[in-house]
Symmetry: C2
Subunit: 331 residues, 2 copies
């Protein structure tokens, strides 16, 4: 039987364990062109919240009763597509299930880095790392000497952004929550400075480390942290809008301090980034990232959950902040 | 004597007549390198509000007791700079006064379009027209067939934006206030459609004319109109933040619906534009605009006030919306 995690109801706000259910499905026979992938790692990511919301997003919502949409990494175990022979490691839209029967269009890429762990194709060598790399370079246009501020500095996207900006010669500042993550930022991830947004003197710390202005702000929050960051933008700053993790609900639509005047006075630019627009550059980006991983310039953390039983609560746990590093489910 | 309009107090919100005073100053003798310009036209523009505010702006504030900062157009009547001979028509930072004694660095340009009215160098062939042209093309990157929405569609910048977008093959939609300005937009300024933001069914009208999404939003308001526009942005839209006319005060800082999610979901870009960053392209832009004026493709309206006595109330009147077209003071 093929164990699956399906969406059974649409959450208000963050999805909880009860919005999902585990079921056992009959294995599906292959038609011509089909590929059977045995999943080894399932991805858990903040963006899933948007994929199951019923409106206003950049992809059609996951239907009630359907297998939860997810990227996964696995091995082809049966194939009626000669381009994907048995034994090939692949990553793609295989969902939260043990086995997926898919067509080639669900496959994001063949995993070529056989010297590196398979799970990395869901993290630092997957959409997290590629998002960090392409959004930072494409929208952020960091120049050596620029100050780059990252709002979820210890997260799986943010930690890659900080390290890549450092590789590119920037001064890097991380914002994160709690002294442990602050230490991780300046230690493990090499930020020049890190600030705890929960600290009483957060504003004073921010003003001190951003005295010369922020040239690039890489944001995954879109909430109170950003509101305190915008006044410190430098002339000609670039703001990368990569996520909105600080906002629990968009109905009613949340309000905040207007950004227009900051953008005008600082001649700054603010732009949204969604990785799925940039798949033509994915492979080239992974090649660059893999070399940095091999050389030790780009480190990563993983938070590995054990088995399909962990799936229903995995997303809620992510929003409770209980993970450290990229969350995946190992099967 | 040299009649001047000076700033005597800093306004809360919009400057009123009582924030200015008219005085007569002794004519100043010329030092080596000085140029005496006899002003013919003084400019009145919304941005002046920012120039006299005491903080958070892109230029040092006008000092209390100083001649009101303003662009003006005039004729060199005495000169100790051989580059600017007597009789030369010039435009530049000459202030609200009859005569200005300036150095070459205060001069924006020599006015070469002697076949066109001198006052145009303060409007459609001045910062209004050049802002419209360079911001629309530089940030908006309009492509033929794009839908371009302009929020102050009948204003001196907006009306030029609409016409230039039309020349570039775009579908143009104007937002303005009142049936008379709506008629002016679709008639005189050639918008494909115009909507009255005061109309009860504004949202429905906006949704109807923007059914295909807005590719370029040229905004001078940054308030309630923008809040209703953002949800209609097309994928990959460009928002030009050129002014914040809808916001009367920035202290306390006004709040509005958050824009981050629109930018993310639509992969849209929002960017501030200040003409003074682009002076290297000013002359080339004026040449293009002047040709469009000569060919009749680019029309303009002027609102000409008579004499220096009109200066103190000129800015307040602009914010009361009593002008139609570019407001100048003729001396």
């Amino acid at each position: 039987m093929n164990r699956q995690c399906i969406l059974v109801s649409r959450p208000e706000g963050i999805a909880q364990a009860e919005n999902f259910a585990l079921v056992d499905a009959e294995p599906q026979p292959l038609a011509e062109g089909d590929i059977r992938v045995s999943n080894r790692f399932l991805s858990v990511e903040p963006a899933m919240r948007g994929w199951i919301a019923d409106k206003g997003n950049y992809a059609a919502p996951v239907e009630i009763g359907a297998v939860m949409r997810a990227l996964a990494a696995g091995i082809v175990i049966e194939s009626r597509d000669p381009d994907y022979p048995v034994g090939q490691a692949v990553t793609g839209w295989f969902g939260w299930q043990q086995e997926a029967v898919v067509r080639a269009d669900a496959i994001v890429r063949r995993i070529g880095e056989t010297d590196l762990p398979l799970s990395l194709s869901l993290g630092v060598l997957g959409i997290n790392g590629v998002t960090a790399h392409l959004a930072l370079t494409g929208i952020g246009e960091p120049q050596a000497g620029d100050t780059v501020l990252v709002s979820t500095a210890a997260g799986s996207v943010g930690s890659a952004v900080g390290q890549i900006a450092k590789i590119l010669g920037c001064k890097t500042i991380g914002i994160t929550g709690g002294p442990q993550k602050v230490a991780q930022c300046t230690g493990r991830f090499g930020y020049d400075a890190a600030i705890d947004y929960k600290a009483a003197d957060f504003d004073a710390q921010l003003a001190a480390v951003c005295a010369g202005g922020i040239n690039v702000y890489f944001d995954n929050t879109a909430g109170a942290i950003s509101d305190r960051v915008y006044p410190h933008l430098a002339l000609g700053a670039r703001v990368i809008v990569c996520g909105t993790a600080a906002i629990e609900r968009w109905d009613p639509w949340p309000h905040g301090p207007r950004v227009e005047r900051h953008l005008l006075v600082k001649r700054a630019r603010m732009q949204g980034f969604v990785i799925f627009d940039h798949m033509d550059r994915y492979e080239a980006s992974v090649a660059v990232l893999a070399d940095w991983v091999r050389s030790g310039q780009l480190v990563y953390d993983e938070d590995v959950l054990d088995g399909m039983d962990a799936a229903p609560d995995a997303l809620a746990g992510l929003y409770r902040g209980e993970n450290s590093g990229k969350r995946v489910i190992a099967l």
